[in-house]
Structures are given as C-alpha cells and as structure tokens.
C-alpha cells in the first residue's frame, strides 16, 4: 500500500430518524482507501453499507444525519465543507453507481443527455466533447451500438446495458472515486458477468478507486483488493481479499461464508402418480407465445426447481398451473386428473390443493390485517374452521413456522422482519393444507443467513406434510441446496431437465452450461479463468 491515501473516514457515526427519536445506523466506523484501490463492503441488509458509501460522498439520505466522526477526501473535510463545495465534488471527483439502473436513470431524458449533464454542469468539458466521450466510454463498457445507444430512453435499453451505461456515466468526469452500490444485484447471472467484467476493466484502465458494496461474497471476491465486513453498523473485520477468503478471523464472517453449506440429502427417484403434471403446455400473452410445449412432473415430497433468466417463462408456468393464464395448448393434471384450464372453472377443493408463496412478502401480505386474519382466512375459507378450532389451527401454524403464537398472533406485517414476513407467507399457504406449493423466488429478496433459515424450514415442512414444491428461482445456489430435480428454461421452452446431481455434474446443453458456469465462486481468480475460458470477453 505505497499509494497515497485518497479517503480517510474516522469514527463515523450516522443516525436515522424514526418518529421523533434518532437511532444509530453506523456506529463509529473507520475506513481508509488509497488511490486506485477497490474496497469491498459486505454485510446483510441493515448493516449500514449504503449509508456508509453515501457518507463517503458527504451525503446523507433524507431522515439520516452524520452525527460524529470525520470524512477526509483528499484533504477536504466533507463534514465541514460548505454544501456548494461538496456539490462541486459529487459527480466530478466522487461518483455513484446505484443498485437499480432502471430506477436511477431519469425516464424523461435520453441516456446521453444524462451522461453529458455532469461534465457540462461541472465545467469539465463542452457538450460536444462530452457526447464524443460518451460514445467512447460506451464502447469501452462494451455496449452494443455504442454510437447510437445513448440516444435511446432508459426504457428502451435492457437492465444489464443500463447498468453499464450508468457506470460509463459515473466515469464521465474521470472521478478519483466511484461508489458502486450493489450494481449487479438486480441482474441475471449471465448478465452479471458481463457487467462485472466491464466494471473491473474500466476501473483498472483509469486507475479509479472504488468502494464496492454488495451482499454477495463471491462477487466481492472478484472485484475488491480489500474487504471490510459490516454488521449492524459496526465493523466486524477487514483484510485483503485473499487472506479474508482463506482465513476469516471472526465468527460472524465465518457464518457468512458457511451459509451456502445447507444441502438437502439426495432422494431416491420418485414413483407413482405425480401430484402435478404439466403436459405440452403452450401459452401466450396476446399473440406472442411465451411458453412453448412445456412439460414436467412434480411428485409428493419432491422439489422441482424451475430455473432460467428473467423472461424465460418461469412465472408464466406457475400462472398456467394455478389457472390464472389458461394455456393455448396442452393441459395440467393434478393427481392424474385434468384440471380446468381457467381457475374460475375449478372447484374450491381443486383451488385449495395448490397454493403460492411470493417473492415480495412485503407486498404479498395485506398490511392492514393481523397475522390471525392473514393465516386464519384461508383456513376458514377452505376448511370451514370456526371459533376455537380456527384459533387452535392458527396457533399450530405459527408454531410450525417457528414463530411463538402468543407473541405474534396479533401483530401486523409491519411489525415483522423480512424473514418473518416470508414465514407468514408460508403459513398462509400451509393453512389451506395443499399438496403443491409454488414458491416464486421466495428467497431472492432476503439476506443469505435469513435465506438459509427459510430453506431449512421449507425442507422440514416438506417431510412432515408430504408437500410437493415447485421452486421458481434464478439463484442457482438455492437450487443446489433444496432441489431434487431441475428444469432449465430459456425463451419459454424447457432446455434441459434432470436430477439435480446429474445436471450440475454434467450439463448436456450449452445454455445450462453457460448458466451454471456464470454463478460466481468464492475464488478471486474465478472471473479471470472464466473470461479466459470463454475466449476474451463475455
């Protein structure tokens, strides 16, 4: 570390307001960053990573305040500097790349207009020069049609391309420091690789220092020189990437590393009539076929994972099974009996057998209902439980999902954590006593440690209640831990299917291979090897 220091943060404290009280978010964190160095910040949600990253720009979100410590950027004290001076630094010497480029680009302006705004406002270069520069940076970020892409509006460009365009925009003034706030979290694995490689190259080309915020250890291993682990606003430990990966010193860090260790025991091949059987289903939105001749079976006590990128038809398949989208061709069998294509034509008993759990527990639970009603309603509607029997059933269900009934039964969803809300989603599905549960990205919005708890719970419940699971996900780590059988989808068709072990060990199709090899691994050399193996750049 002979390079000069760029950013020094000492004893930083940040508070957030809830009601009239201020509570600490960041509790006295120190941070040193040298010129051209990439520091990875990792931790679960609520660890204060983003807040700390923004503080490095002298910025606190509305409802937050920097209450203690110093932030020194290249000799400038960002806490005491006047706002005009900080504004002069932002975008010019310190830039920011947000998690969701789709939400962080202004929908009303073309990409290149948003690119040029920073350099022109900061007086770095003229509009004409900035436009030429934008095309050059788009090219370096390996955006297709770099000459023309800037003249599109954000909604006309895909998510992965937007994320690269945003990194190019952050580079516009050739800043000394860029804050990357989970830039690939919202992307598919195959897209993620392209973005990671492009970001890493451009940061190296310009010798830009970066703070790379993520909750994904394997990603940070590829990007960072050093890693700092945060937990609830405190630093857990910091070390350079290789030694941290090889030998984490703290228990918490080790627990983060160990999360993906949960794996379901291998099951013998299932026999008998499958619970649900999707047969040659073709379905369309309007005139466009979004599912093409899809078939697979799910047996009792078995989990079938349906994987693929966004837009591959995973959730549409679920809509066909539940009867929300009647297929154009093909049929769905339940215990060997053909189900009516439209849910309106299905009996209450048929509806009860198939329940869903959703990705965003936040929006899938009615915020005005107490847990008693949320869980009680399906039990009342499908099973006709009333009074004392209903009360007992709700309490049993709460106990089943490992929430203490007396403490939780009268709570509102807003009084629960993200993982607890997802548990309520599970209890609500169980209340109907179904045979099949469709889990649509149920762990995608959760931290890894919480994810593991949910997966273990689902696994235990399956054994106890004879459930069949259809597990929709784009996260292959989840697939590895919970699935028995895997169905790989692309562009609405099944590309490959088979038992988990066989499919992971020896994928037959190119697309499956691409998908599997795109899952980041902890090894810091993984991205290099992968890019070399794929022949240059992804």
């Amino acid at each position: 570390m002979e390079k000069p220091v760029l950013l020094t943060i000492k004893g930083l404290q940040i508070e957030g307001r809830s009601g009239d009280a201020w509570h600490p978010i960041v509790k006295g964190v120190d941070l040193t960053l040298h010129k051209g160095e990439v520091l990875g910040l990792i931790g679960e949600s609520g660890a204060g990573k983003s807040t700390l990253g923004l503080a490095a720009m002298g910025f606190a979100r509305d409802g937050c305040r920097i209450s203690g410590g110093t932030i020194d950027f290249d000799g400038i004290d960002l806490r005491t500097a006047p706002e005009a001076k900080r504004r002069g630094l932002r975008g010019k010497r310190i830039a920011y790349v947000a998690q969701s480029a789709a939400a962080s680009f202004n929908p009303a302006h073309k990409l290149i207009d948003q690119y040029c705004e920073g350099p022109v406002v900061h007086g770095v270069m003229s509009r004409e020069k900035a436009e030429a520069d934008a095309v050059e940076l788009y090219r370096r970020m390996r955006l297709p049609n770099s000459e023309e892409i800037g003249f599109r509006y954000p909604h006309q460009v895909s998510g992965g391309q937007l994320q690269r365009a945003m990194t190019a925009m952050a580079m516009a003034c050739r800043p000394d420091l860029i804050i990357f706030d989970e830039p690939t979290t919202a992307l598919d694995v195959t897209t993620q690789i392209e973005v990671l490689a492009a970001i890493r190259d451009i940061v190296r080309q310009f010798g830009t220092a970066a703070i790379y915020i993520t909750h994904d250890l394997a990603v940070v291993a590829q990007m960072a020189d050093r890693i700092k682990v945060l937990l609830r606003g405190d630093e857990v430990e910091e070390a350079d990437t290789r030694s941290m990966l090889a030998a984490p010193r703290q228990d918490y860090t080790r627990s983060l590393w160990a999360v993906r260790s949960f794996a379901r025991a291998e099951q013998p091949p299932a026999t008998g009539t499958p619970v649900v059987s999707v047969r040659n289903v073709t379905a369309a939105y309007g005139a466009v076929d979004v599912l093409k001749n899809v078939s697979f079976d799910i047996h009792a006590r078995r989990t079938v994972a349906v994987v693929g990128e966004s837009g591959s038809g995973k959730s549409t398949t679920a809509r066909v099974i539940t009867g929300l989208l009647p297929p154009r061709k093909g049929e769905v069998l339940f215990n060997g009996k053909v189900l009516p294509p439209n849910f309106k034509a299905r009996s209450r008993e048929e509806l009860r057998q198939c329940q869903m759990i959703y990705q965003m527990a936040d929006t899938a639970l009615n915020p005005k209902l107490r847990l008693r009603e949320l869980i009680g309603r399906p039990a009342e509607m499908y099973l006709g439980l009333r009074g004392k029997a209903l009360e007992t059933r709700i309490r049993d269900l709460l106990a089943l999902i490992e929430l203490e009934p007396d403490k939780y039964i009268d709570r509102l969803p807003s009084e629960l954590s993200g993982g607890q809300k997802q548990r309520i989603g599970i209890a609500r599905a169980l209340a109907a006593e179904p045979q099949l549960i469709i889990c649509d990205e149920v762990t995608s919005a959760l931290d890894q440690i919480v994810q593991e708890g949910i997966l273990k719970l689902l696994n235990r419940l399956q054994g106890e209640l004879n459930l069949a699971y259809m597990f929709i996900t784009h996260d292959l780590a989840t697939v590895k831990s919970i699935a028995d059988k895997v169905v790989v989808m692309q562009h609405g068709a099944v590309v490959e299917r088979g038992p988990k072990a066989a499919l992971f060990a020896d994928p037959k199709e190119d697309y499956t291979n691409l998908l599997l090899s795109s899952v980041p691994e902890m090894d810091p050399d993984w991205l290099n090897r992968l890019l070399a193996a794929r022949g240059g750049h992804a």
Binding site: R87, G91, K92, S100, A103, S104, R152
Partner: protein
Amino acid sequence: MNEIWLMIGQRLLLGLLTLFIISVVIFGATELLPGDLARELLGQSATEETLAALREQLGLNDPAPLRYWNWLTGVLQGDFGVSMATKKPISELVGARLGNTLFLALYAAALSVPLSLLLGVLAALWRNSIFDRASNALALTAISFPEFFVAYILVLWLAQTGLFPSMVRITSATTTGDLLYSAFLPALTLTLVVTAHMMRMTRAAIINLLASPYIEMARLKGLSPMRVVLRHAVPNALAPIINVVALNLAYLITGVVVVEVVFVYPGLGQLMIDAVTNRDIAVVQAIALIFASAYVLLNLIADVLSTITNPRLMHRK
C-alpha cells in the same frame, strides 16, 4: 408518430360520442323545465287560439324525439335556431358573448397558470419553509372564500380606491388595452380562485417524485437543487399538472357565472341565467352544449399533451 394521430382520432370519436350523450341529456333536462313557452311569449292575456297557433308555429306540438332530431340536425349545420325571447338568431347572440367569455378565461389563465406553476415549483423546492407555508396558506384562504366574497373584497380595495373599474362595459369602441384594464378585477378574482388547485397539485406532484432513485442520482451528480427540480422532477410530474390545469381552464370558461354577475361582465354565464329566467330554451341548450364541448376539448388536449410528454408512450421499445 402515427400512434399519436391514431390516439387523437380515437379520443375525438369518444369526445363526439360524449357530446352526443350530453346533447340528449341537455334536451331531456330542458324538457323537464316547468312553464309554457307560448304563454311566456304572449303573456297572460293571450287567448287559447293564439296560444295554439303559436305552439303549432314553433313546432311545440311535435313529439320530443322529432324535436330533438330537428334541433340536433340544425346544430350540426351550425344553426342553433332562433332565440324565442329576442327573436334573434342564437349564433349571433351567443357569438359575441362567447368571445367575451373566452377573453376573460384566457386573461385569468394567463395570470394564474404561470403564477401557480411558479409558486408550486418554488414551494416544492423550499418545502416546509416559511415560503412554502405562507403560499399554501394564502392559496387555501383564497379558495376557501366564496367567489362573490373575493370579488367584493377586491372591489372594496381596488375599485373603491379608483384603481380599477368595478364594472366592465364592452362596446364596439373598446380597445384591447381598455379591455385588459377594465377586466382586470374579474380576471384577478378568478386567478385567486383557481391558483390554489394548480399550485398545490404542482407541489404535490413534484414532492412525490423527490424520493425516487433518479432524483437521488441527480443530487449525487452534484446538481443544484433548482436544476434537480426543474430538469429531473418537473418533466416527470407533467401529466398530473397538465390535467389539473385543463380542469381549471374548463372551469374558467364554464364556472364564472357569479363573477360575471358581480362585475356585470357580458359573458355566456349571464346570458345563460337570463335565458333560463325567460324560458328561452333554445339558448340554454346552445350554451350548455358549448360548455360541454369546452370540457371535452380541454380534456382531449390534456390527454394528448400528457402522452406527448411521456417518452415511454412516445418512443416504444
């Protein structure tokens, strides 16, 4: 671009359908008005024979659907019929008044729209400041008083002191300059009445967007607060603003009866009141149809403008 023309065409057709339904309602409603037009015209002393003859002459004995058909076909050819009270062609009678009403509406709009947009943007920029609270409080106060009360207060302050006239006289010799001067008080009254809606909607639409990630991004690019609001928030807040402006413009054309009465302004509203009093049904129908057209047309324009200002609708994938 073709999609825009298609949309405008569809909305126009829908607007015409709406107007057709409204014309039925207007005709039906005027049928329900009490009184006998023939007796109204000839006075209490008229004999039954002359009344019957007049009814025959005016076509009052025809069945309602036939009279509706005759009226509608006339209107479609630009012929609103003859005022039964004054015996003048209605188009002549309404024409001059419509011009006056549009002039007052435009005058008030020219004052109130820029004022409320400016106040709304500044209130959003300096939200929760003294300025924000004061402009909100003033606008709400102005809208909370009945129009005639605001009008009389203005007369008391600005007309009694001799600054502006309290009555508007329009003759063929009146110049535009004179008109702007003499119609200032009614225009100001209307401005005070409509500013609050537009200002508060502008403020709310902008503040609603300030929590968006792209606004945070704009701030993190080091842009000034004014630039963040004007360049990044306002373009995305245009749709609700355009709609509330259109609604208020329609109100300025159709809802100004009270203000016209206070300032003796010869507009459509006054004419309509007179016509209702005189049972001059053809005039009532004509004006009601004009008011309805103003609403339909302004809403159509608002729809088209909201679409044009939204790149997601203008530039498909």
